[in-house]
Subunit: 237 residues, 2 copies
């Protein structure tokens, strides 16, 4: 049974809701709905008028667009605590699709806009986060524009490890040695995300494995054996 009450919510302290007091939160709870998505389910479609805004409680989603040549291009990922939606806007440009089982806290767009009006701190936090997300996307731009295939793959794994793992070991001194997690993306999706081909991604991952930097325990499992070397590999121009 999943958390339908904020007191049970795993991202109470990380999501936009962290800008609200318990009392404020109690007032808006009835406005939101819990929603579960299976892998592959779409929350929003490219070109839709954005009907909903949501907080990610658990799972990972991809933000993607389909080019006219048919290939999908992934432009970002959403992790627990992240916000999805486009308040005060008519359309939005990308598909949002679940990569894993996902739990969301969903608000109709107009309701969410009213909430922003009632809770200035939340609106400020959303603005600040969006600006930060913009900087993040721009950082990626540099990586996509300049980095070699090896650096892109290493950077992706490094980023993913930091996003997925420290939910437990509260972000202390970097990443624990031997951190293990499962990639929420297939090789093909990683290739889309990084602007590479499946073959190149596969080759680079085997290379990282052979170098002893990561372990590949079959399937989608990843073990970060040497976090420092992984981070370093991400920055070899």
């Amino acid at each position: 049974m999943l958390a339908h009450r904020c007191s049970d919510c795993g991202v109470r302290d990380r999501s936009l809701c962290s800008s609200l007091t318990d009392e404020e939160l109690a007032a808006i709870v009835p406005l939101g709905q819990h929603r579960h998505m299976a892998r592959g389910d779409a929350l929003l479609h490219e070109g839709d008028s954005p009907l909903v805004c949501a907080n990610v409680q658990a799972g990972v989603l991809k933000i993607a667009s389909v080019t006219r040549s048919g290939a999908e291009s992934i432009v970002g990922l959403l992790y627990p605590g992240d916000f999805v939606g486009h308040p005060f806007a008519g359309t939005h440009e990308f598909d949002v699709v679940a990569l894993t089982e996902v739990d969301l806290c969903v608000f109709p767009r107009l309701v969410f806009e009213r909430m922003l009006g009632d809770h200035r701190r939340m609106e400020q936090m959303l603005l600040s986060r969006t600006l930060a997300e913009l900087d993040r996307a721009r950082g990626w731009l540099v990586q996509m524009a300049r980095a070699t295939a090896a650096a892109k793959v290493a950077g992706f794994l490094d980023d993913m490890a930091q996003r997925l793992v420290p939910s437990d070991c509260q972000r202390g001194l970097g990443l624990g040695i031997g951190a293990r997690f499962d990639l929420p993306l297939s090789r093909g999706e990683i290739a889309d995300l990084l602007g590479l081909t499946i073959e190149t991604v596969s080759r680079q991952m085997t290379r990282l494995g052979a170098a002893g930097i990561i372990g590949l325990p079959g399937g989608r499992g990843i073990i970060v054996v040497n976090p420092a070397a992984l981070a370093a590999a991400a920055q070899d121009s």
Copy 2:
């Protein structure tokens, strides 16, 4: 003599100020300062605490970061009407430098934050614009990840033409035939922006010229001879 009064401001109807009535605007005028920048002047430095927020009145700026290998990477451009700054945040990640003569309307950050508090419509517009800018950056990501050098250069010129030219011919049916403008960037800066080398940019531009799609009247001038072909070239995978 440049416009120091909002009634003379060239972007009154396009900037954040368009969310304000004339009366509201009159109230905040004394809080802002006009500022002029010469080519190469920096408004903000990477890692600074962001002291100011500003609207671009005229000119073009670049948003860039310097990689540890010393090369500069340009991640975005700012045009008249655009907003610069990072309210409610401690640091910001990029340099902002003038590419041409630039006129700005500058507010100290704390003053600007107070303004946002007093003018909800402006805050909403800023949020909406930031979300739109995020989508824009993500669209670029696709281009950077997948497009060929030819498509990147064509796309850049197409985008630049649409940003610089229609300030006159109010964005009617696309771009007028024979639109002429001067690039605010050197070949090297274009190369940085697109993640290419100077040589490749130069070659692709000569190719576009030889194909009769653009004219290159020397220096930084560009004539868009065949806008449709330019847009098409931007999308050849």
